[in-house]
């Protein structure tokens, strides 16, 4: 992350969660990146990453994992993004990226850095 910054790029994280009220202001200021709250899921939809959690998976989360998404996302919002990473050039064009419903498959940090280097001509 410091490397991405040192190359002149910004890092922004987006989730459907409502703003976190459990963090103190000091903690919020200590986080070095912007964590954005898409409380209406409009941005997730615009990026074609939005999905409604299937009933079978919802039951698994509630009964086996003890995770109630409504606690984080708000009432009635059993919805999530496909985990995704996009590297945008200064025109907003996607130059590299990855999106996979299997949340254990993520874009390699080395690939992100290589894409940023390519954009800035480093």
């Amino acid at each position: 992350m410091p490397l991405i910054r040192s190359l002149g790029a910004d890092l922004v994280a987006i989730s459907p969660e409502l703003p976190d009220n459990t963090m103190t202001m000091a903690e919020k200021h200590a986080i070095p990146i912007d964590i954005l709250s898409d409380a209406t899921s409009d941005v997730l939809k615009a990026y074609r990453l939005w999905f409604a959690v299937p009933a079978e998976v919802k039951a698994l989360y509630l009964e086996k994992f003890g995770i109630n998404l409504e606690k984080y996302n708000g009432a009635g919002r059993w919805e999530l993004p496909v985990p995704a990473t996009y590297v945008l050039d200064t025109s907003g064009i996607v130059r590299a990226g990855q999106a996979d419903p299997d949340y254990t498959i993520r874009m390699e940090p080395a690939e992100v850095i290589a894409a940023v280097r390519d954009i800035v001509g480093d």
Binding site: V82, V94, E108
Partner: protein
């Protein structure tokens, strides 16, 4: 070690029962079939304005005017 290898190591340690993994896999297939496939390389990313953790509005065009932006969509803190 690559992130991929570290995740593989984590999954091996976690060792979830096969019946749970089957539900997760079916869920992932459902999402794939729903067409939620994200942006394509070369496509222009839609603009947005969203609040950050300090309730400040962050606008994508503002950030792009300063340099490249790495966007990460994640499911949540849980």
């Amino acid at each position: 070690m690559s992130l991929k290898d570290r995740i593989a190591e984590f999954n091996a340690k976690r060792d979830r029962p096969p019946e749970i993994m089957a539900i997760v896999r079916r869920g992932n297939e459902y999402v794939k079939e729903s067409g939620a496939s994200g942006l394509r390389i070369g496509e222009r990313a839609p603009d947005f304005a969203l609040p950050n953790q300090r309730s400040e509005t962050v606008r994508l065009p503002d950030r792009l005017s300063k340099g490249p932006v790495v966007l990460n969509f994640y499911r949540g803190v849980w």
